[in-house]
C-alpha cells in the first residue's frame, strides 16, 4: 500500500466590512472600580481603547489589509475566494474523501474474500480398466 496522505494545515481568513469591537481598557487593580471599562462624560474611554491605533469604525477588512501589508513589506497581496466558491471547494473535498473511503472499502472487500480462504480445486479421478 502507498504511504498515508500527509496534509499541511492552512489558515482561512474570513473578511467582511463588519466593525471589530474595540472596547475601553479596564480599570487597573487597586483603582476605585477595578475591572470596569470606565467612560468619561463625553462617552470616550477613560483609560483609552484596547487597540488605540485602530481608527473609528475599524473593520475586519481594514485589519486584514493592514496585517497583509505588514507581512508583505508594504504590498497588499492575497488570493481570495468567494463564499460560494468556498462551498464548492468544501464539497469537492468531501467528494474526494468519499472516493478514498469507498476505494478503501473495495480493498477491504478484496482482502476479505481472497486472504485465508480454502482453494476450491476440482477432483481428479483415474480409474483402472
Amino acid at each position: 500500500m502507498p504511504r498515508g496522505i500527509d496534509l499541511n494545515d492552512i489558515k482561512w481568513n474570513v473578511i467582511s466590512t463588519a466593525k471589530i469591537a474595540n472596547p475601553c481598557v479596564k480599570n487597573a487593580e487597586g483603582s476605585e472600580n477595578p475591572g470596569k471599562r470606565e467612560k468619561l462624560e463625553d462617552g470616550s474611554c477613560a483609560n483609552g481603547k484596547e487597540n488605540p491605533d485602530w481608527k473609528e469604525g475599524y473593520t475586519y477588512l481594514d485589519r486584514f489589509l493592514d496585517t497583509n501589508k505588514k507581512d508583505n513589506n508594504g504590498d497588499i497581496v492575497f488570493m481570495a475566494i468567494s463564499i460560494g466558491d468556498y462551498e464548492v471547494m468544501s464539497g469537492n473535498m468531501q467528494e474526494l474523501r468519499r472516493y478514498i473511503r469507498e476505494v478503501q472499502e473495495v480493498v477491504v472487500y478484496y482482502r476479505n474474500v481472497t486472504i485465508n480462504d480454502k482453494p476450491a480445486v476440482g477432483a481428479k479421478v483415474k480409474l483402472k480398466d
Binding site: 500500500m1 502507498p2 504511504r3 498515508g4 496522505i5 500527509d6 496534509l7 494545515d9 492552512i10 489558515k11 482561512w12 481568513n13 474570513v14 473578511i15 467582511s16 466590512t17 463588519a18 471589530i20 475586519y60 463564499i83 460560494g84 468556498y86 462551498e87 468544501s90 464539497g91 473535498m93 468531501q94 467528494e95 474526494l96 474523501r97 468519499r98 478514498i100 473511503r101 469507498e102 476505494v103 478503501q104 472499502e105 473495495v106 480493498v107 477491504v108 472487500y109 482482502r111 476479505n112 474474500v113 480462504d117 480454502k118 482453494p119 476450491a120 480445486v121 476440482g122 477432483a123 481428479k124 479421478v125 483415474k126 480409474l127 483402472k128
Partner: protein, 131 residues
Amino acid sequence: MQQFFIAIILILGLGCWWLYSENQTLTFNNMQLEVAIKQQEDAIESIREAYEKQGDSLNGMINKNAQIEAEKNRYMDVFKRHNLNKLAIVKPGLLESKVNKGTKNVFDTIEKDSRELDSLDDPSGDINPNN
C-alpha cells in the same frame, strides 16, 4: 470321468481367479471414487463458503458505501441549512474559527483514512480498526 472333473475344477479355478481380479479392480475403483467424491464435497463446501463470504463482504461494502455517502451528504447539508454569506458579513470572526476548525478536521480525517488503507497489507493488523 476323472478328466472331466479335472476340467471342471480348472474352469472353476480360472473363474475364481478372474472374479477375484475383477473384485480387486472394482475395490480399487470404489476407493478412488470415494476419494473423488470426498474431494468434490470438499471443493463444493469450499466454493459455498467462498460464495457466502463474498456475499457477506459485498453486503458489508454496500452498507459501508451507503454510510459514507450519507456522511458526505450530512456535511454538505450544513451549507444548505446555513447562509454562510450572511454569517460572514455579520460575524466573520466566528465563521473564521469554524471554517479553520472544519478544514483541519477534514484534513485530519483524510490523513486517518489513508493510514487505515496503508495498514491493510499488514497481516497482523486489524482490518478497519475504527469500523
